[in-house]
Amino acid sequence: MGPSYWWMLLGMALVTYIPRMIPLTVLDGKELPPVVQGVLRNIPYAVLGALIFPAILFVQEGNILFGVLGAGAAFLIAFLGGGVMSVVLGTIAVLAVYSLFV
């Protein structure tokens, strides 16, 4: 990573800090309209959907099966109630076995 990384980091730090700080200092007690609050609350879930698909299918170039298998394993472990760490490690284990034997 070059100097552009550090500019990016500065930008990320600012846009993360500002929304944390403004309501506690500048706004001090003013409320947002409920619709805006609703939309803001939705964002974390929506962004996860967009991040997972379709990128997960292409984690290994030219081998979609690898991604499909990984996605399947991750969803299965998560649905069975595994925590974030067990989903990550379990999926890696499945794919490690796959890349050792296939």
């Binding site: 990384y5 944390r20 309501p23 947002l32 698909f53």
Partner: protein, 241 residues
């Protein structure tokens, strides 16, 4: 008195610090596989301190997305903190603005939940400092340790590791999807929009994620707002009858 409040905060924050341990460790590990040096990875945890946004930036960095777009995505993902600090403001003990501006940096999904739901009555400034400080320390330290572990990972695991980031996203998303159709819709609609934009080549990855996220959040909210209204109208009719 102040000292007691601070240590009570540290104690309460320990559960967050323990929860951050695997997530920060994984972030350090993935940052290594994304090509960040230990300084770069740890600096991100020090200065940005936002789990989801940091993970997202890794996936965008590996896709070669324009840094400016990564900053914009970070902003979109993190404006939710605006809501949290806005609602927290009423629960906090009055304090000077610059003091509030310092602990504001430590407000995350987890520390917010703890402060907002944890105690009855006003929360003291010292308590807030205790909670946020120990959680932040854990996040930074375990990022660095994760990076060191990542550097010593056996080679055959490297291919399998490429999935880790996405497995992590799935591990975060699925528990919220259970029994919550709105969350399922939000994720599915955003994924569908992103897929369309991706396969038609209409937008670059960074823009596409930005557009898909905002469009899904707004559309699903509108659908639910309308449903809420029609449901209310239905109840009203039932009462009349």
């Amino acid at each position: 008195m102040k000292h007691n409040q601070f240590s009570a905060g540290l104690k309460a924050g320990t559960s967050i610090a323990i929860g951050y341990f695997p997530v920060a460790l994984t972030f350090g590990l993935l940052a290594k596989t994304a090509g960040l040096s230990i300084i770069e990875a740890t600096a991100m945890s020090i200065f940005v301190y936002a789990g989801a946004a940091q993970y997202i930036s890794l996936s965008l960095i590996t896709s070669g997305v324009d840094p400016l777009l990564i900053v914009m995505n970070t902003f979109i993902v993190n404006i939710r903190h605006f809501l949290m600090t806005a609602s927290l403001n009423e629960k906090m003990q009055p304090a000077r603005k610059w003091v509030k501006a310092i602990y504001a940096f430590g407000i995350t999904d987890e520390s917010f939940s703890m402060l907002a739901t944890g105690k009855k009555g006003k929360i003291s400034t010292a308590f807030a400092f205790g909670v946020t400080l120990i959680a932040y320390g854990s996040w930074v330290v375990f990022t660095a340790i994760g990076h060191i572990i990542g550097a010593n990972l056996p080679l055959f695991l490297q291919a399998a590791m490429s999935i880790a980031l996405y497995a992590m996203f799935i591990g975060l998303l699925v528990p919220s999807m259970k029994g919550n159709r709105k969350v399922v819709m939000l994720a599915a609609v955003a994924a569908a929009i992103h897929c369309i934009l991706y396969f038609t080549g209409a937008l670059s990855t960074g823009w596409s994620i930005l557009v898909a996220t905002l469009a899904s959040s707004i559309v699903v909210e509108m659908v639910y707002a309308r449903r809420g209204k029609s449901a209310a109208a239905m109840y009203a009719r039932e009462e009349e009858a």
